[in-house]
Symmetry: none
Subunit: 424 residues, 2 copies
């Protein structure tokens, strides 16, 4: 018996038309088939009244309660983008951004320059050191990058440069009283000023200025976190503002199931690598609505031959939600529904479909609304509950009722007959 | 976007006729309209199997978990009745009662004397001091009063005189080992004996004795609690047997919303003032079934013009429940339903209707049964769930499912898109 967990990113929503959500409006005969012969419920990714991040939502869903296992986004982003992490490496998620002459952030994404532009600029700042600290910058996708800081003084207790708003730069501050945190914050601020000098005098930016495009002349960092000990794919120890010396037990050890991840986006690969899963790269997986869903489904089916557990991540729904485009979201859901058809023929496989969080088209942001979940299993393994549709309104009437994402893996172990016994 | 939170006190009940609750039996077309186009649920005010007090039920509902923010009823009663509290003041809720010559309580409410009688007796004991302690007694409403104790030795760790039963007086005992608690308990007992002497020799009581009415010759105190530091309307620090040095963050600061309260009863105004809300006094608001509901609804509509959040409290349902009169309760619910009609035309307003607890007509007391809740919001803000009636039986089928009152404010912030994000 194998498990395929499909996380449709940002799937949940609010009514957008005729009182219905994009998922309700979409024609989803395959998802509805799963609902009809599965057990359904509604799930809070991280808790009632809390807006999940993509990182915390996925950690919960994979059975790693973020309260215990989340340390910060930097290491997840680094692991997902393929940047190699060594013991003691401090990692940040970065945006290439625009500041004015007084370091006021005027564009958090520098007008979204094309891949080649960002790659070229990233090269210019790839390796800039300050006294006692080495800074390694890598471009990932679009305006995004990863910064690795190496130093015997490197400490993850430093604040985010990225305030998620335009306005004055939020220079790094130490988050505890340690000398190392202060030194790290100071070094990071020094690096940012050096990098600004390099970027603003770069020919690309001279050219962008001429063309009245926002200059890509600054880096916004966030999610400081550190690989403290061990090798990521073997289970390691991490630290960050959200958790100190957190030892990650490998997914395969935690659940006794070999696991692989099929995803386009770096963060999701990063979460999977954080948990020691195998990462399966799929050609045409773009982490957007233009992704090759058939290729991802095929890759998942293949992966199920060699793994007990496959985590399939689909990103486009979240992108459409952030864009506030419910029609795009609805159509992409319909494409997903078609693409999963081959999965319904799988034998000896439990299929779980849910989301890491809701992304509201109206809010153009993640929302605290819970998400539907269906667990479909070979006959006799789950209590089929009479829910006929896979959507936010039907799901709460199902047999799972109202759960949290951190309950999902224990419920799955229960269905497999592998849950721990309490008492005798 | 504004929020109107309507707390219908003691609204929840058990079946009283033909298997239906007073709320089910009542004709409530407006409440049902809210249910039909809102999201519904059933809520435990303080927890499963716990009977909420009016104080703890409301604190929860307003997002202040009583486990963290409740110190005792005395300060709430004082703040609500308009008695001025200064730093170091110890406050008690009081009943004017009847004891026999051996201090056996024979009537906890002294036969419910009229307002004028209680006011007159209160004057006679308004300012009676014992060694090192000053005792200030104020009449509030009916047989009720507030006692303020001032002394450098005053300490809130003293037991209730009111045992909620007839029988021997439960003289005050210290609740910890401190000298001050012992001194306070002793002083309170001395005061009670002095007050008994004054009251029993008062002409009013001579007259009541002649008329075979219970003499109003004793005071039952409860809910010892103290304003430790600060000014109530600015957020202050309180202590009592339920919590030591509890700092109350103002509602407006906690939620970023200016807030006002429309209520007739002292306790509810007290809770609102405890949280730093503006109190709007409404002529004709009696905290009983004869209250002017239209005036309260109008006042709430006006208040919504200057406040982001309005808490409208309606008391009569609880009174009818305590009387064990389900018909009175049902009829009052029908009056509420009519009175709220203008609210359904409000724009840019989220309306929440629920209760602070159930008051069972059969038990004539608060019960641990959860209460229905509906959140009605402009189109697209909540997932409309197909519930058609606002009552105890329909509500659990709604999209909110089964929640706790302390979840309500976080859920509302989520609907507004203002909930905190956990992760990125």
């Amino acid at each position: 018996m194998r498990i395929l967990l499909i996380a449709i990113d940002g799937l949940g929503d609010r009514p957008v038309k005729r009182g219905k959500t994009p998922l309700q409006l979409a024609k989803t005969s395959n998802l509805d088939k799963l609902a009809k012969s599965g057990i359904n419920g509604i799930s809070y990714p991280v808790g009632i009244g809390l807006v999940p991040g993509s990182d915390t939502g996925h950690l919960s869903l994979l059975g790693y309660d973020p309260e215990q296992f989340y340390v910060g986004r930097g290491v997840l982003e680094a692991l997902g983008s393929g940047v190699k992490l060594y013991e003691g490496d401090l990692a940040f998620r970065c945006n290439l951004a625009t500041v004015d002459s007084k370091f006021n952030v005027t564009d958090r994404r520098a007008g979204r320059p094309d891949e080649r532009t960002v790659a070229e600029l990233a090269k210019a700042i790839a390796n800039v050191s300050t006294k006692e600290f080495t800074f390694l910058f890598s471009h990932t996708k679009g305006h995004r990058g990863v910064l690795i800081v190496r130093s015997k003084f490197a400490n993850p207790m430093v604040s985010d440069i990225d305030s998620h708003n335009t306005g004055p730069t939020a220079w790094a501050k130490p988050l505890d009283q340690s000398d190392d945190a202060r030194k790290t914050a100071d070094a990071l601020n020094d690096w940012l000023k050096k990098v600004h000098q390099i970027l603003k005098s770069h020919p690309i930016n001279k050219d962008r200025a001429k063309k009245k495009l926002p200059e890509a002349n600054f880096i916004l960092t966030r999610g400081a976190s550190m690989l403290v000990e061990g090798q990521p794919h073997k289970g390691a120890v991490y630290s960050g503002p959200y958790g100190k010396n957190v030892r990650i037990q490998k997914f395969s050890e935690r659940y006794g199931m070999g696991a692989a991840c099929v995803a386009g986006g770096a963060l999701y690969k990063g979460v999977a690598r954080y948990l020691g899963m195998e990462i399966i790269d799929v050609k045409g997986a773009t982490a957007n609505v233009d992704t090759d869903l058939n290729a991802k489904v095929s890759a998942s089916i293949s992966a199920l031959k060699n793994n007990d557990f496959v985590f399939l991540h689909i990103k486009g729904t979240d992108v459409a939600g952030h864009d506030g485009d419910w029609q795009k979201k609805m159509k992409f859901i319909e494409r997903i529904d078609k693409a999963i058809a081959p999965l319904l023929k799988l034998k000896d496989t439990i299929i779980v479909v849910t989301a890491d969080h809701s992304t509201s088209c109206a809010l153009k942001a993640h929302s605290a609304d819970p998400v539907p979940i269906v667990i479909w299993a070979p006959e006799g393994m789950v209590r089929v509950d009479g829910v006929n549709k896979f959507d936010e309104i039907s799901a709460p009437h199902g047999g799972l009722g109202r759960i949290k994402h951190k309950n999902v893996m224990p419920i799955l172990l229960g269905i497999l007959g592998k849950a721990p016994m309490y008492g005798t």
